[in-house]
């Protein structure tokens, strides 16, 4: 009659089905990648990136078939262990198996060829940057219980503002600052609607997305395309190599040879984590997101906290928008954000509304995105249309809650009534 009863039938069922899934993954690795790899083939993982300052090191060369078999065996072993004993942390198990699958896949795809791993990681971080910024915008808004699904629209508007103003002023920093300000302004509009007038937060967010897509596409086709050189050609932020650190093999090119927007993103992740968990502002934000009435009875201004957070979130999304134009290609294309704002929201959920978690899951999406590009170059026998879907498929898998359900802030999405 005490709480020693720990496993019920359905928990056992879950354990069994997870074990079987893991075993099946092991088998799948063997069938898909093991059989079609020839035994004498080698896979070369390049660890040096041309044109960087990192000290050169030897490449990683592995026998393709043996590696695939090893990965298959690891996955099968983990599955069998789960069936036999049962492990509490299903997330860690899924992580291991996902890792074996990816390694086996890469080994198979690049068998007999060379695959630049460092280049892949570098482009993962770069591609993760706008997703991470969108995710941080989501984290900061939703921690104060305001849902902002208008991030995509905010990023589009900011992207266009950034490139046009930077081109006109011949100054990238002007573009950057205006992008951040317009992001804050659009978010302020969202905040005003949902806090002051208690407009449904989803409806307001959808409206922002539609307005963002419509207005930027209109301006682009009406004005920008006719005057590309005078309006839509800003150039981009240069790569800044951090002296010393950029010489470290692998890590150097990945982390310390990036442009301003990427560095700002990394900095923001750390700053936001500290702000959220170690400052009065963060404590109030979390309290307002969890139990606004409690915060109100202690004299915290719930509405003010929400305004501030949503607007700061919008400014971060504005920075994310700037990345698309002045941070990467130097011009605006219609709908160039391609759903990154929404993927950012998925990263926020997968990262459990936590800045570091959100950033880490953005890296997974960035990895999936850059993987699909590399695979097209490697001429893998998979149609490119399917490869292009990769980041979105990862998004869907993650959102189904396979990898553990995340609990949002308790008051998320609810307007506060005194």
């Amino acid at each position: 009659m005490t709480n020693t009863h720990t496993k019920t039938a359905s928990e056992k069922r879950r354990q069994t089905s997870l074990g079987i899934t893991l075993l099946a993954t092991g088998l799948l690795i063997y069938l898909l990648f093991g059989i079609s790899t020839e035994s004498e083939q080698l896979t070369t993982f390049g660890l040096n990136l041309a044109g960087t300052q990192a000290m050169p090191i030897g490449d990683l060369i592995v026998p393709a078939q043996a590696t695939v078999y090893l990965m298959s065996a690891i996955a099968a072993f983990v599955g069998a262990y789960q069936l036999a004993r049962g492990v509490r942390s299903s997330g860690a198990l899924l992580g291991i198996v996902a890792f074996t699958f990816v390694v086996a896949f890469l080994t198979w795809a690049a068998a007999g060829k060379s695959f630049n791993l460092t280049g892949m990681l570098t482009s993962s971080l770069v591609r993760a940057t706008p997703i991470a910024l969108a995710a941080l915008c989501g984290v900061i808004s939703e921690r104060s219980a305001v849902i902002n699904i208008g991030i995509e629209g905010i990023m589009l508007i900011a992207a266009q503002v950034a490139v046009v103003t930077a081109t006109l002023s011949q100054n990238l920093y002007v573009g950057l600052i205006l992008a951040i300000l317009i992001g804050g302004a659009v978010a302020a509009f969202h905040a005003y609607l949902v806090i002051r007038f208690k407009v449904d937060q989803i409806v307001s967010g959808v409206a922002i997305n539609i307005i963002g897509a419509g207005v930027t596409s209109f301006i682009s086709s009406r004005f920008l395309q006719k005057a590309t050189n005078t309006l839509n050609n800003s150039g981009t932020f240069p790569i800044i190599s951090i002296p010393g650190l950029s010489k470290i093999p692998i890590l150097g090119p990945v982390l310390f040879e990036n442009n301003l927007v990427v560095y700002l993103t990394l900095l923001l992740v750390v700053v936001m984590h500290i702000m959220l968990f170690h400052t009065p502002w963060g404590l109030r934000t979390r309290a307002v997101g969890e139990h606004p009435k409690a915060a109100d009875t202690l004299g915290v201004n719930v509405y003010l906290v929400r305004y501030v957070n949503v607007i700061i979130g919008g400014m971060i999304a504005g920075l994310g928008g700037a990345y698309f134009t002045i941070g990467s290609v130097g011009r605006f294309d219609e709908i160039m954000t391609a759903g990154k704002g929404f993927i950012g929201l998925a990263a926020m959920i997968f990262g459990k509304w936590n800045p570091i978690g959100a950033f880490s899951s953005s890296l997974i999406f960035g990895f999936a995105d850059s993987l699909q590009v590399k695979l097209q170059i490697l001429r893998v026998p998979i149609p490119s249309e399917f490869l292009l879907m990769a980041p979105y498929i990862v998004t869907m898998i993650i959102l189904t809650g396979v990898v553990g359900r995340a609990i949002p802030p308790a008051a998320d999405g609810q307007p506060y009534e005194k």
Partner: protein, 509 residues
């Protein structure tokens, strides 16, 4: 002796309601003022005005003889007024320290939260007032009694000397109530003044120095506790003579109609909230399920009525198992359900009374004929039931939402009792009702028992359980700690079971 707090002529109107009508109350320094009244008498509104959550339409507030303006909780805190709310204002996923410091956060270097400083201050307050609590514990892991201590610490941390305790005993076990009274005693000895809001007569007599009774938004009068009796207070509170005990004959139980074996249920958040519950309800008896709110009673009732799936175990209704079936199927097999939240699960507030009175049977004859509803029959059915169950309403066409709580509950009872039933499941059947309605609902439940229905009553009010039940099961953390005969059960014994002590241990001591 000085008056630390005086409220004069406080009036507050809500659309359609006069919640407070020229209320005057006085709190003496170092004393306990009990504010007594039924639900809806305006006690909580008055205190929310004092704490700056509502703005009064008229009237003035004086602290130590000085008239003050209180527009927000901050103003109240500055005046040394602190409030322990009926529904705790604590963030469950944060620690005790974080909850206490929220709103006035000391910092290191002007940036970082100084949690250590606050934790130390909490330990000092704990020692001084006997409020033991771990500053680093998360609120969600603490029992309700300890959470209440955190609320009191929050108030003391803000250096309040006037404390408002709003229905502080509603969620406590009898032993925890004793503990609270000791804490109140320590607070008074160290010079604090307290306003104690309640509708429980015995508590008022146990602690109060002064008693003020409210009814329908007005002060009925003040009385010296030395001259007060339960009977006198009840008459002041309700405005007429009331019968405080339920008249009932001894039960004559027959064969079991509802048998529950080894039941496990998960709540919506996937927590296992019912863990291995077994009991049976026999024809013609009332089985009461006692327990502090939130110990799995809600989920148990949901499982019995088909609103939550069973994780494990069996439920047998009249010897037929209930498994993977729908709420409608369960209702059709003779189960009546008076749900815990009458406004969300019992009624459709925006539907007229006549439609609410046929929600269980609308698809059957005589109410439906093929695809069309038979309006005349629906209306006459409603007229009959309103008459029979004494629902006070202008007519049967008004929306259920316009009725008072007691009349809403009567509509539910009328609907459930108007069809043939074998088992009645009543969850918190009188929560928030006035004394008159409580009396009525209790009588109806006993009447059903005497007609041979098996009755399951779930309530967190121990008095209600004791007056209705023939047998009493106590739930704690999803398990049944023991089943007692109501005749021989004592409040102390039930209280220990409610706090998780095993049955064997309670009889030893």
């Amino acid at each position: 002796m000085t008056n630390v707090l005086e409220l004069k002529g406080i009036t507050k109107r809500f659309p359609g309601v006069l919640a407070n009508d020229k209320i005057d109350i006085t709190l003496r320094e170092g004393k306990i003022l009990a504010l007594l009244g039924e639900n809806g008498a305006g006690k909580t509104t008055l205190m929310n005005i004092l704490y700056g959550l509502y703005k009064p339409d008229e009237g003035s507030i004086s602290v130590r003889g000085q008239e003050v303006d209180i527009h927000s909780p901050n103003d109240a805190i500055l005046q040394g007024i602190g409030m322990v709310h009926q529904h705790f204002m604590l963030v469950p996923v944060m620690t005790v320290t974080e909850n206490v410091m929220l709103g006035i956060e000391p910092t290191k270097n002007g940036i970082f939260l100084d949690k250590e400083k606050v934790a130390n201050r909490i330990r000092e307050i704990s020692d001084q007032y006997g409020l033991e609590v771990d500053p680093n514990a998360y609120i969600k892991d603490l029992p309700v009694g300890i959470q209440q201590r955190v609320e009191i610490i929050k108030v003391l941390y803000r250096q309040a000397n006037i404390l408002i305790l709003d229905e502080p005993t509603a969620v406590l076990t009898p032993q925890e109530v004793e503990g609270l009274f000791k804490i109140i005693d320590t607070l008074i000895k160290s010079g604090k003044s307290i306003i104690f809001i309640t509708h429980k007569l015995k508590e008022v007599l146990a602690v109060a120095d002064d008693i003020t009774v409210l009814r329908l938004g007005k002060v009925v009068g003040s009385i010296d506790p030395k001259e007060a009796t339960s009977k006198k207070l009840a008459v002041m509170m309700v405005g007429r003579d009331v019968n405080l005990v339920v008249d009932k004959k001894p039960a004559s139980p027959a064969e079991p109609v509802l048998v529950v074996e080894n039941l496990y249920v998960r709540d919506e958040r996937q927590n296992l909230t019912v863990q291995g519950v077994s009991f049976d309800v026999r024809k013609g008896e009332v089985l009461g399920i006692a327990g502090v709110q939130g110990n799995g009673q809600t989920e148990l009732v949901y499982a019995l009525t088909g609103l939550l799936p069973l994780e494990e175990g069996t439920i047998r209704l009249l010897n037929e198992p209930i498994l993977r079936t729908t709420p409608r199927n369960i209702l059709e097999r003779g189960v009546a359900h008076i749900p815990e939240d009458r406004q969300r699960h019992g009624l459709i507030l925006s539907f007229p009374i006549h439609d609410n009175l046929m929600l269980c049977t609308y698809y059957k004859k005589p109410f439906a004929n093929g695809v069309s509803l038979q309006e005349k029959i629906i209306y006459s059915n409603a007229e009959d039931l309103v008459e029979q169950f004494d629902v006070r309403t202008p007519n049967i066409y008004v929306n259920a939402g316009t009725l008072s709580g007691g009349n809403q509950q009567k509509v539910i009872v009328a609907r459930e009792f108007s069809r043939p039933i074998e088992v009645l499941i009543a969850s918190q059947p009188t929560r928030g009702l006035d004394v008159g309605s409580i009396e009525y609902i209790h009588k109806q439940i006993i009447k059903k028992r005497d007609e041979g229905t098996g009755v399951l009553v779930v309530s967190s009010e121990l008095d209600e359980i004791l007056s209705l039940s023939d047998r009493i099961a106590v739930m704690y953390k999803g398990q049944i700690m023991g089943i007692l005969e109501a005749k021989t059960a004592t409040k102390e014994q039930l209280g220990l079971l409610m706090a998780g002590v095993h049955l064997a241990e309670t009889t030893q001591s």
